[in-house]
């Protein structure tokens, strides 16, 4: 069984930074903003490192924590060898685990953190996740200035970074349970249609979660997938209904909820920062939902393998949150 219930694991606090396009979007109540993609650094990659260190430093400061108070730092991003997270981690004297599962990185980090807190007696774990539109474009697509024509199924990598503090101290957000997903490949190789790549993985993880914990989809006030996009969200719902006979009433997709239509991001936002930003800066500010299931979906996309005509595998991890 890949699902696990936690006894008393809480998401104590979080700190967010959003990029120039994101601050004009549907997001509210973020902590810091960036005026441009350089963030006063020399390169985009170094800017992303600074975004990560700013959110971690502020989270530490707000909670009056020293490095020695924190048992573990879990970090992830989209760059090769998750270099951004490593270059951020070297600033601290905190044991570090780097993780990668593309846009499912945030729930993967929460699962790791929660397990260490629940089972290994760790007291405080910080998770940090970031994505930067231009480092990601450079990594996965064309040079930044090229601006190749994009189809309507393509998504726009979110710029932002989020640090969360996971621990035993009771807070408003309880991490109730989680499910680790399996990697799924439905033979889609279109790198401009990540929603289609990831939808079956999201469905599989949702079903696994509901079966393992003997729950119905209506148990949750909201099921929030992270970043299938507007097109992928429709595919996900249809796939769930035709393949598993599950009809979702309380469903939103983070990618589709992020940007305004006028921002011309086509199918919406993507990137590891997308799901946590929408969760913390939109869904939680509404105070409408008590039981939330977040399903982070990641296309495990490698340009090398795609160039070798291979299809793209996808992964999804789910975390159930109970909000006061």
């Amino acid at each position: 069984m890949s699902s696990k219930k936690y006894k008393n694991v809480y998401l104590d606090d979080y700190f967010t930074i959003v990029g120039p396009l994101e601050k004009e979007s549907h997001l509210k109540k973020y902590n810091l903003t960036m005026d441009d993609y350089y963030y006063k650094e020399k390169t985009f990659e170094q800017a992303e490192v600074k975004m990560q260190s700013d959110v971690v430093n502020n989270l530490k400061k707000n909670n009056s924590l020293n490095d020695s108070d924190i048992d573990l730092l879990v970090g992830g991003d989209l760059t090769n060898q998750i270099a951004v997270s490593s270059y951020n981690a070297k600033n601290y004297n905190i044991p570090f685990l780097g993780v990668y599962s593309a846009c499912a990185t945030f729930p993967e980090e929460l699962i790791l953190a929660s397990n260490f807190v629940d089972c290994s007696g760790f007291k405080k774990v910080i998770t940090v996740v970031s994505s930067h539109n231009l480092t990601a474009e450079k990594q996965f697509r064309y040079p930044v200035e090229y601006g190749a024509p994009r189809p309507h199924t393509s998504t726009f990598t979110t710029t932002g970074a989020i640090a969360t503090l996971v621990g035993r101290k009771e807070s408003k957000i309880k991490i109730e349970s989680s499910t680790i997903g399996v990697a799924i490949d439905m033979d889609i190789s279109d790198a401009n249609h990540m929603g289609a790549v990831m939808a079956p993985a999201a469905a599989s993880t949702l079903l696994r979660h509901l079966t393992d914990l003997k729950r119905d989809a209506s148990y949750y006030d909201l099921i929030l997938t992270g970043d299938l996009g507007c097109v992928g969200g429709k595919i996900f719902q249809d796939y769930l209904e035709t393949n598993y006979g599950v009809h979702l009433k309380n469903y939103l997709d983070a990618g589709c909820e992020l940007f305004l239509d006028s921002q011309e991001t086509y199918a919406g936002g993507s990137g590891p920062a997308c799901l946590p930003l929408v969760l913390f800066c939109k869904i939680l500010t509404n105070k409408k939902y008590k039981k939330i299931l977040i399903i982070g979906t990641g296309a495990l996309h490698s340009t090398t393998f795609v160039n070798q005509k291979m299809s793209i595998p996808a992964i999804a991890h789910a975390v159930s949150l109970e909000v006061e």
């Binding site: 040079p143 309507h152 595919i235 796939y239």
Partner: protein, 145 residues
């Protein structure tokens, strides 16, 4: 659900690209650039008394230079998506692909960054351009035109 069935399901939800509109837009934007090129050739011939071949070479250089400067100002970033392939297929696109790559990698070192990556996109154009020119020359010699 089989992978084939899933592909059908995906297709059902995938929005159709407005291909005809894209083609028309690209045709007019590309044509407009061609029109400007012809205009510059005409002006060079009239003002400087150049032969048509020399004027065409200068025009090519002017268009490439202008496109490269526009890349630096972020013009293509905003306009390629609107003009579709109308901006990419003419020489403007070639120049832009070179300067775009150069801008991306200039901070990764002159050799390992800029030098190694400047033809990242344009490399294919150069390679296959040279090969097809070579083949066409052979054809021309054989036919004896």
């Amino acid at each position: 659900m089989t992978k084939e069935d899933y592909k059908k399901l995906v297709k059902k939800h995938t929005p159709k690209e407005p291909k005809l509109r894209n083609i028309v837009v690209a045709f007019f934007v590309g044509g407009l650039i061609g029109f400007f090129g012809e205009f510059i050739i005409f002006m060079l011939q009239e003002s400087f008394g150049m032969s048509k071949v020399i004027a065409a070479t200068w025009t090519c250089l002017i268009i490439i230079g202008t496109a490269s400067v526009l890349t630096a100002f972020g013009f293509f970033d905003n306009w390629v998506n609107k003009c579709k392939c109308g901006l990419i297929i003419p020489t403007t696109g070639f120049a832009h692909s070179v300067t775009g790559s150069a801008l991306d990698y200039k901070k990764d070192g002159l050799i390992t960054g800029l030098g190694a990556n400047i033809f990242k996109l344009a490399g294919s154009v150069i390679l296959y351009g040279v090969i097809s020119a070579f083949i066409l020359v052979i054809v021309r010699v054989v036919i004896g035109v």
